[in-house]
Amino acid sequence: MTDAPNRTSEIASYLAAVERHLGDLPEPIRTDLMSELDLHLAEVAADLGPGMALRDLLGSPESYARELRETAEVQKEPAAARIRRSLSQTFAPVLTRSKTVADRFAASTGHEDAAELAERLRPGWWVLRGAVVAALFVYWLASAQFGVTGYSYFNSIPGLIFGVAMLLLGVWASIKIGMKAPEWGRRRRRVTAAASIAIVALAALQFSPIMTGAFPTTYVETYYDGGDDYGWVTDVHVYDENGRRLTGVYLFDQNGDPLWIGDPGACDESGWNDPFAQDPEVDEFGQAVESPVEEYEVDTSELGYQYPLCAPGENPAATPTPEEDPTATPAPGEGTRSEDPATQNPDADPTSPLPAEADATATPTGDAPTTK
């Protein structure tokens, strides 16, 4: 004969197995069935003969659960319906609360409930939806056409006419859709509503800078600069083979035309070497002279910029480090002076930080060739 503890565990085990097979039932029905089943099985077990198990009398838990399900008049729920029911049960409290708040708000505006207020607002929603779609369309079209976000179509008469026409068309189409929607099926109406809300949300995201007063006008790079590798260069520093910096240098191409490399405006005002200023110390042979500027009417604009454009050491960021120096440190006496007439004598360099003799053999530490 089965003793009491074993019978209790047998009932519990049987119950758990039945409950597993009823897992897909709606919660209220499953709870109702299971809440009394333990007592019922205890009644059945009390009448069991010695050596008999619950399974002998009731069959397997699976078949018992199947029979229960059939008599409870509940068909097995499809997975999709089960998920929907689960979601609706989860969000039911939130929805109920939201509806209460909405009804209260609608009542404060003199309407019966939120549904009546929504009905009243529906035409306004259609207009808003149409206007938003039109605005988005015009905005994206302008961005694609002009490569600029935030470009206003309304700066020109044709653009203004186009914008207003799109607005009217969008509003008209939206109203037509809104009036036609009641004839559609539930699914189609839901898809339309979801798409409308998504578009308005997208527009809110797109146009949010307008609301904050910081509407960006951003150029979108759509051109190629032609491969100008020196477009970023603002100055040119020239060194001879001894590592001495040359100043007052002009650059020419193979045709003798000046090379306009660099940006004089990038220098600090205090130390800017005006490339068009007439150099009082240099004559047409590159020799230092003591004559005043007025006596040499050299049009330096024909020679291009005079390098370096900026005074040495003017821009700390441009100060090179020894590691950056591409020129090897020459041994004293190894180097030869450049005889290029365009090259100024370093000795005459008024901006050179070191005396010519020392400079000729010293390793440049602060004036390595670099560009900025």
């Binding site: 009394e36 205890a42 659960a65």
Partner: protein, 109 residues
């Protein structure tokens, strides 16, 4: 022939009729049915029917201690249950009469 499917449509009227004379608890009701010849009915079918009729308001319950075992939950008919039983009985007798006539009609050959 498997009569269980046929009986499933009659479970409500069968269980209500058994309880119409005397209140009973789950397993006892099954025994009454078995003694009336409804051997095909399973415990789960009876228990499920009892719970469904209870949820519909046709049955009420009360618990009574038992000398030989655990407490027992008794089911009894409510007034709506009795009314439902009368309607179900009328429907059954109507269908039964028609079925009798149908089967008593001589067949060809």
């Amino acid at each position: 022939m498997d009569r269980s499917q046929l009986l499933k449509g009659l479970l409500d009227i069968i269980v209500l009729r058994v309880l119409d004379n005397e209140d009973g608890y789950g397993y006892e009701i099954l025994n009454r049915l078995r003694s009336s010849g409804f051997d095909e009915l399973g415990d789960a079918s009876v228990y499920g029917t009892l719970r469904r009729l209870y949820r519909a308001g046709y049955l009420s319950t009360y618990v009574q201690p038992s000398e030989s075992g655990p407490h027992r939950k008794y089911y009894s008919l409510t007034e709506p249950g009795r009314k439902y039983l009368r309607q179900a009985r009328d429907a059954w007798e109507d269908v039964s009469a028609k079925m009798r006539i149908l089967f008593e009609t001589p067949t060809k050959g």
